[in-house]
């Protein structure tokens, strides 16, 4: 049997590659693209109002509701805005950390820092969000720390969501930037200095352009993760994000939930197209 198989594959490189890739590619097509296609189809169905059963005939009713009801524009706007803010915040916080890790720190410190960045990813997402919920509560840790300054914490709301998400996704921004900066040869920085470039000029004209694709790559993570999250908004605010409305509709109006779930996909496709223009995928 095995002999015959070996004979079959011998001297047929295309067949070899095909057999090797059939599993993973099949999985990708069925598991990812197939479910995406199902989502698209489901968004065109509707439900019977009384029994909640699916009515499998095509109509654009769900999308009409989505465009006509102002509340959904508010929710989509809020979600995209917070995602953008989280991305910008993380980029600003992550760059100096990544730069220190890649260019300044000794070998030993570098290893310690990489572990320090990774450790939060080992603990449960829920534990982290619930700890933030406690810290943000009235009279909680944040209020207590700000009290001597005559300030009070932000409480629950959009600010809290922004804070918690920025915290949660920071490692996903640091790691790509760190990898990007590591690839910049030190000789380029020295050359810039030899040519009389001041530190800021070197940063602006040499480091930033070379590291920018890495920042964009990191931003894809932070942006997409914020766009899809619904547990953080639920625990530290009363505001609805796209994910919350999808969740609320999923058991009694699946087609509408599917239509709404397409919104972040469309936003993400737009984002990826812009990211490609900015050169985020050139080194992949």
């Amino acid at each position: 049997m095995s002999h015959r198989l070996a004979k079959l594959f011998h001297g047929r490189p295309r067949l070899q590659v095909g057999a090797l890739l059939a599993g993973p590619v099949g999985w990708l097509v069925v598991g990812y693209l197939g479910s995406l296609a199902l989502l698209l189809v489901a968004s065109l169905w509707s439900v019977n109002a009384v029994s909640g059963e699916l009515v499998k005939s095509l109509s654009f009713e769900n999308f009409e509701v989505l465009f006509d009801e102002p509340v959904y524009r508010t929710i989509v706007g809020r979600t995209v805005l917070i995602a953008a803010l989280v991305t910008i915040t993380d980029a600003i916080l992550a760059f100096p950390i990544a730069f220190y890790m890649a260019k300044v720190a000794s070998r030993r410190t570098k290893a310690i820092l990489v572990v320090a960045v990774l450790i939060p990813l080992w603990s449960s997402y829920l534990v982290k969000v619930l700890s933030w919920r406690n810290m943000l509560s009235g009279g909680g840790l944040i209020d207590w720390m700000l009290e001597p300054l005559g300030l009070s914490g932000p409480g629950y709301g959009n600010t809290a969501v922004w804070l918690v998400m920025s915290y949660l996704w920071l490692p996903y921004m640091i790691l790509p930037i760190f990898a990007g900066l590591e690839r910049i040869p030190n000789s380029l920085i020295s050359a810039s200095e030899d040519l009389g470039g001041k530190p800021f000029t070197t940063f602006r004209r040499v480091i930033l352009p070379l590291a920018f694709p890495a920042v964009v790559a990191g931003s894809i993570f932070t942006f997409a993760l914020t766009l899809g999250d619904y547990i953080t908004p639920r625990l530290v605010s009363n505001n609805q994000f796209i994910g919350n409305v999808v969740f609320n509709n999923i058991s009694n109006n699946l087609p509408f939930a599917a239509a709404l779930a397409l919104v972040p996909i469309v936003v993400m496709i737009g984002y990826l197209l812009v990211a490609r223009k900015l050169g985020a995928f050139e080194h992949i």
């Binding site: 009384v50 909640g52 499998k56 009801e69 509340v71 629950y156 009363n238 609320n248």
Partner: protein, 397 residues
């Protein structure tokens, strides 16, 4: 570089084309799908147990204290799945993998309409005879004159407040719903995060705005619904927290982030147990604010695709057996459905405390039921459950 780009673009178009093809294929299959599986016949005779039964229940309804004796007596092993919301229960029942569910009134009509459950032959459930008569033949458990389930127990949604900061003790829902009174507790109000909460506004309006002519808080026409939604929208800016998990509300009341709001007995007794300063409407007011309250009355229903119908019938009889029903009622903190359970409770005053035997108390409780377009009074212009869900989304904004 150029050619590589062109290749990528071609691959992308191929994928999109493939997706469209798959989509059309599914849509084609979908439209030819129809379901005319009208079983709708109740069991005539209980046979031998099938050895197991698969249940969907609210947390606290299926616990070892009363399932172990059941398993021992009938040989039916109990497999239980706890669901968090009525919507989830309906969805799980649609899978056809379960024999029965402890459905609240906002799920029952949907299950019946979807042919997901069968009528119950109450002659095969001996303990049914001594179930409180005001729980039988109710609009949320009886359809077309046929009983579709066995009452399990009932309770009211309470008004709870922090007894240190909310004084004098409120007598009405106005502390959470009337904008002028409620604004005193801006940011401290706790509201159940569910479309059914719109009915709380309707109960309030029924008492305070008789011009609207609200009869039933779940059967609202355009004008009545609009008024209730408006009230909830005004409440929005005053709400400190919408809660969906009981634990979330407990933590906010314990930390003082919430001071007044709708709750279930479960949270109230949990906070009491932790020694927190919380209070609910006292016995002198019949445990309810003056307008009455929304509430629930849960029903065990049997799936139309039940693989273990005999065991399910045995379970439905067991759960209203006096001793088991007393256990589950005390465990969960609700009034039992079984009259004889009141003699079996560990706390001899339990039924008095929960008003189990007072029909007049329960007349002021509006049990959850599925809002339907059919108003029940001949009109067809009421808002259905999908309208309620959409409205709830716009209330929260």
């Amino acid at each position: 570089m150029r050619t590589q780009h062109a290749n990528t673009a071609r691959t992308a178009w191929l994928i999109i084309g493939g997706l469209l093809a798959v989509m059309l294929l599914f849509a084609g299959c979908g439209s030819s799908d129809d379901d005319s599986s009208s079983s709708g016949n109740e069991l005539q005779k209980i046979g031998k147990g099938e050895g197991q039964v698969n249940l969907i229940s609210w947390a606290g309804y299926v616990e070892p204290e009363w399932t172990k004796p059941f398993e021992k007596k009938t040989g039916c092993k109990v497999n239980n799945k706890v669901a968090g919301t009525s919507d989830e229960m309906v969805q799980l029942m649609r899978s056809g993998e379960y024999d029965g569910v402890s459905a609240s009134g906002n799920a029952t009509a949907r299950l019946v309409e979807g042919d997901d459950v069968d009528p119950v032959n109450v002659d095969l459930v001996p303990n049914y005879k001594t179930v409180f008569s005001d729980l039988k033949n109710q609009p949320y458990n009886t359809f077309d004159g046929k009983p579709y389930g066995i009452p399990h127990g009932r309770g009211a949604n309470l008004l709870m407040w922090n007894s240190d900061s909310v004084t004098p003790a409120p007598k009405s829902w106005n502390v959470t719903l009337d904008p002028s009174t409620a604004s005193e507790y801006k940011g401290k109000i706790s509201q159940y995060d569910d479309p059914m909460s719109i009915a709380e506004a309707a109960v309030y309006l029924k008492a305070h705005n008789p011009d609207l002519g609200i009869e039933d808080p779940y059967e609202l026409n355009d004008e009545q619904f609009e008024a209730a939604v408006q009230l909830m929208k005004e409440q929005r800016s005053l709400v400190g927290e919408y809660w969906s998990e009981a634990e979330k509300q407990i933590s906010s009341f314990a930390s003082g982030d919430s001071e007044v709001g709708t709750t279930w007995q479960y949270q109230y007794f949990a906070l009491k147990g932790e020694g927190k300063p919380v209070a609910a409407s006292p016995a002198s007011q019949g445990f309810l604010p003056e307008e009455g309250a929304t509430g629930w009355s849960d029903t065990w229903m049997i799936s139309s695709e039940a693989e273990h119908p005999n065991c399910m019938y045995m379970w439905m009889d067991w759960i209203i057996e006096p001793e088991a029903n007393a256990q589950v009622a005390e465990y969960f903190g609700e009034a039992p459905a079984q009259e004889l359970a009141c003699d079996k409770t560990a706390n001899p005053n339990f039924c008095t405390e929960y008003h189990a035997e007072e029909p007049n108390f329960w007349k002021r409780v509006y049990y959850w039921k599925t809002p339907l377009a059919d108003c029940g009074n001949g009109n067809e212009d009421c808002k259905d459950y999908n309208d309620w869900v959409q409205a709830w989304t716009s209330i929260k904004g």
